[in-house]
């Protein structure tokens, strides 16, 4: 404690050790200030903020240097929404005691949050606008504005009180009561709120709780419990257990399961049945098409067999015509050979060429007797020469081991002269050498049969023996 005159530290004595001034009364003032501070602290502890403000103001009137009281007063002002008085107290406190002052922390808290400061400023401005609306008798606008204020700062007690007053003015007793109760919840010692609450309560008869309560009371919601306590209707929400809250989740899960089950047992079989019936329709359609195709195939097969018969008939006709052609060709060949013979009987080569394609065995049934007679006459005159010519050519080819040419020419030679055993023998040798053993055996048999007791027949027998031995 310091002397109020010289500022020196005081002792337990009633005089200042420095200036000698009497400090007895001053000490009593300081003690009284501290007592008010304690009272204010206690009231603030039980949220009697109005009482706390009064006590702390008293404390500061007795001792302006009571820093704790001043800081606490600023804090209480801040709590009830009076930010500017709060800041004022903290600034003065800081001015009176620069060091170790908690007001620093409070002011830093406000300064370091510009958004909060701006929010506070807006709240104050809107409250003042609402206040002006009240002055101008625009009460509805004032109510709207105050609701905005309270949405920004629900702890602004003056706004609650003014709103309660406006509700009382408008006859909304219930709402006024709620606002007054909110104020008393924030500040239990607020006399104005108590008066408004009393006024509202006096206007509310039991069971006629105004619009708001009646709205709530008339609702048949199961979420609230209503009962009367004296003249008041108490409405409180029903506490739901965890199981009750989770029942909705279980309901959703059950719904999903039932939905899946319904789709499995009702929708899915129907869908499968429709798909099956579609498939059966397609199968029957395909089988019908298959039957018609089979019938068509049967028709086509019948047509093919008919056509095949026609082809065979036509082929036989063609063969007949070919026979006619070969006969006429043979006649032409014979005519040409006869013509050559009559012109130049020595042209053996020309006659051989003309008769080259004449196969008498192939046309033997179709030729006339006149043709045969002419052919035999020609052969009796030029046959040996032709045979000799073919034999020479064939023998040369045989020696040259050209067996194909040899067989052709020796066959011709034997055709024109069948009395030459050599022709037949070398023909057999040609077949033998060319590997056609069956034909060779046939020729050798002919040599042995037609020309027995000849050297060629003996040689043919040897060859036949060789063939037979090799065959075994």
């Amino acid at each position: 404690m310091k002397c109020y005159i010289c500022g020196a530290d005081l002792t337990k004595a009633d005089t200042c050790p420095s200036c000698g001034a009497s400090v007895k009364t001053y000490k009593k003032l300081v003690a009284l200030s501290n007592r008010f501070y304690n009272e204010g602290l206690e009231k603030a502890g039980v949220r009697d903020l109005t009482g706390a403000v009064n006590s702390l103001r008293q404390s500061l009137k007795l001792n302006k240097n009571n820093i704790d009281a001043r800081n606490l007063l600023g804090l209480v002002y801040f709590e009830i929404g009076d930010v500017v008085p709060a800041l004022s107290e903290w600034v003065i406190s800081k001015n009176l005691q620069a060091d170790k002052n908690i007001a620093d922390d409070y002011m830093d808290m406000v300064r370091n949050s510009p958004a909060q400061l701006e929010n506070i400023n807006q709240t104050i401005k809107k409250f003042n606008i609402a206040y002006n609306y009240c002055q101008q008798d625009s009460l509805d606008l004032a109510v709207i504005q105050l609701k905005k204020v309270l949405s920004l700062n629900s702890g602004f007690i003056k706004a609650h009180l003014l709103l309660a007053l406006l509700y009382l003015k408008n006859g909304n007793w219930d709402r006024a009561k709620i606002e007054a109760q909110k104020v008393l919840k924030l500040d239990t010692g607020n006399v104005m709120a108590k008066r408004y609450l009393k006024e509202a309560d006096s206007m509310l008869l039991p069971g006629e709780s105004g619009k708001l309560v009646s709205d709530i009371a008339s609702s048949d919601s199961d979420d609230i419990i209503r009962y009367n306590s004296g003249n008041e209707m108490i409405i409180q929400p029903v506490k739901k257990s965890v199981l009750t809250r989770t029942s909705s989740i279980w309901g959703i899960v059950l719904g999903i399961v039932l939905g899946i089950a319904a789709s499995c047992f009702l929708i899915l079989p129907q869908r499968i049945q429709s798909i099956t019936s579609n498939n059966q329709e397609k199968i029957s359609q395909i089988s019908e098409e298959s039957d018609s195709k089979s019938a068509q195939i049967g028709d086509y097969e019948q047509k093919i067999s008919g056509l095949q018969a026609q082809i065979e008939a036509l082929q036989s006709q063609v063969t007949d015509y070919e026979g006619v052609d070969s006969t006429s060709a043979a006649m032409n060949s014979l005519m040409e050979a006869v013509n050559i013979y009559m012109a130049t009987p020595s042209d053996i080569e020309g006659m051989a060429k003309a008769l080259e394609n004449l196969d008498l065995t192939a046309i033997s049934d179709d030729v006339s007797p006149e043709f045969t007679d002419l052919y035999n006459t020609l052969m009796s005159n030029v046959g040996p020469q032709l045979a000799t010519s073919y034999y020479n050519t064939g023998y040369e080819a045989y020696k040259a081991e050209n067996y194909e040419v040899a067989i052709t020419n020796l066959n011709k030679a034997y055709q024109y002269d069948n009395n030459n055993v050599n022709t037949l023998y070398y023909l057999g040798n040609s077949y033998y050498s060319s590997g056609d053993l069956d034909k060779a055996k046939e020729i050798y048999d002919a040599v042995i049969t037609d020309f027995p007791n000849t050297q060629s027949a003996q040689a043919a027998q040897v060859k036949l023996a060789e063939i037979n031995n090799s065959g075994n």
Partner: protein
């Protein structure tokens, strides 16, 4: 029965942050000690004056 107009007079516009400086400077910070000092001073002056007149 509450008189609205009378009640409304009890409300005052809230102090805005821009006004804080004026409020701080304009605040009456005198406490009981200051009052006592002034009383003592006044008492001293009166005693001096009475002595001079005598």
């Amino acid at each position: 029965m509450i008189n609205f107009e009378e009640e409304l007079k009890k409300f005052k516009p809230s102090l805005e942050i821009e006004d804080a400086e004026d409020i701080i400077y304009g605040q009456d910070l005198d406490d009981m000690s200051d009052v006592l000092v002034r009383i003592l001073k006044d008492a001293g002056h009166e005693a001096d004056n009475s002595k001079r007149t005598k």
